[in-house]
């Protein structure tokens, strides 16, 4: 039996269990452990979904950036598979950021959306990686497609530092970072808020690795099918 077929028979139950336990712990921390914030009230709990979604989107696009560089350097299909898989997951979580943000903004700011630097640059990031995935869907499979995708994957990542520093460089509606500050990590926050945020970040990270393993397996199966089809074609 081939390596791919063997992998599809073992869906990584260890990782599934870990991610499941992480998500359950995070939900318990968000809804039971952490006290309600004084200013915003219960709505502030959206932060424990919004910030980890943003973290996973940025982390996923960083993996795209890294794997795209490695692909252009080493020309190995493996790096292209990781970049493609990570971009798709990044888009899922970036979409969640763009949905949870307005749902938090409406009761706090009174509007769903403002065209400030943080929100606009995040929307631009989403559009860049949607274009990345569209390029992969629309063009013929091969090294040319992988090369073009890698270039978009690298250039697109340059938007992330802009998103991070936008709240410091320009006057924005979006608040400055509350966890990563110049005074240190989580300074000034209630310790229970920092712990809950860390648990949520950990749970979402486990979820990312679980989704990556599923998505990478899918891409390897496609490769296996293409390989067999090519072999059949040449043998006849």
């Amino acid at each position: 039996m081939s390596e791919v077929a063997q992998e599809t028979d073992s869906p990584g139950y260890g990782l599934l269990g870990l991610a499941g336990a992480g998500v359950m712990t995070a939900l318990a921390a968000i809804f039971i452990y952490v006290p309600t914030e004084k200013t915003e009230g219960i709505i502030q709990r959206i932060m424990y979904f919004h910030v980890p979604s943003a973290w996973i989107a940025f982390f996923a696009f960083f993996i795209v950036f890294l794997c795209s560089i490695l692909f252009l350097w080493k020309k190995e299909r493996e790096w292209d598979i990781y970049a493609h898989a990570s971009a798709e997951i990044g888009i899922v979580f970036c979409t969640l950021v763009l949905i949870t943000g307005p749902l938090w903004a409406k009761p706090v700011w009174g509007v769903w959306w403002v065209w400030d630097a943080r929100l606009t640059s995040t929307l631009v990031l989403w559009l860049i990686y949607v274009a990345y995935l569209m390029l992969r869907v629309q063009s013929e499979p091969g090294s040319t497609r992988a090369r073009y995708a890698a270039v978009i994957g690298i250039v697109g990542f340059l938007d992330i530092p802009l998103i991070h520093f936008s709240v410091l460089w320009w006057r924005t509606f979006h608040p400055s970072p509350k966890f990563i500050t110049t005074q240190g990590l989580g300074t000034g926050n209630d310790p229970s808020m920092n712990i809950t945020l860390l648990i949520a970040l950990g749970a979402f990270t486990l979820l990312y690795f679980l989704l990556m393993s599923l998505r990478v397996r899918l891409e390897r199966m496609k490769d296996e099918i293409d390989r067999i089809k090519k072999e059949r074609l040449y043998s006849h």
């Binding site: 009230g41 709990r45 979409t95 949905i99 749902l103 199966m221 059949r232």
Partner: protein, 50 residues
């Protein structure tokens, strides 16, 4: 919508979104597995005819 409604909506979108994505991955995986098995079976038949 009251504040609890917004928090509920966030939960629906986050977990619903993750669930839909996982479901799409599993569905695509099953479909590819079926194609792969079919191809292997065809290959086996081809080799037994030769």
């Amino acid at each position: 919508m009251n504040n609890l409604g917004y928090l509920f909506a966030v939960n629906v979108f986050v977990w619903g979104g993750v669930f839909v994505y996982v479901f799409s991955l599993v569905r695509r995986s099953h479909s590819l597995k079926k194609d792969l098995d079919l191809l292997k079976e065809t290959l086996k038949k081809d080799s037994s005819h030769e």
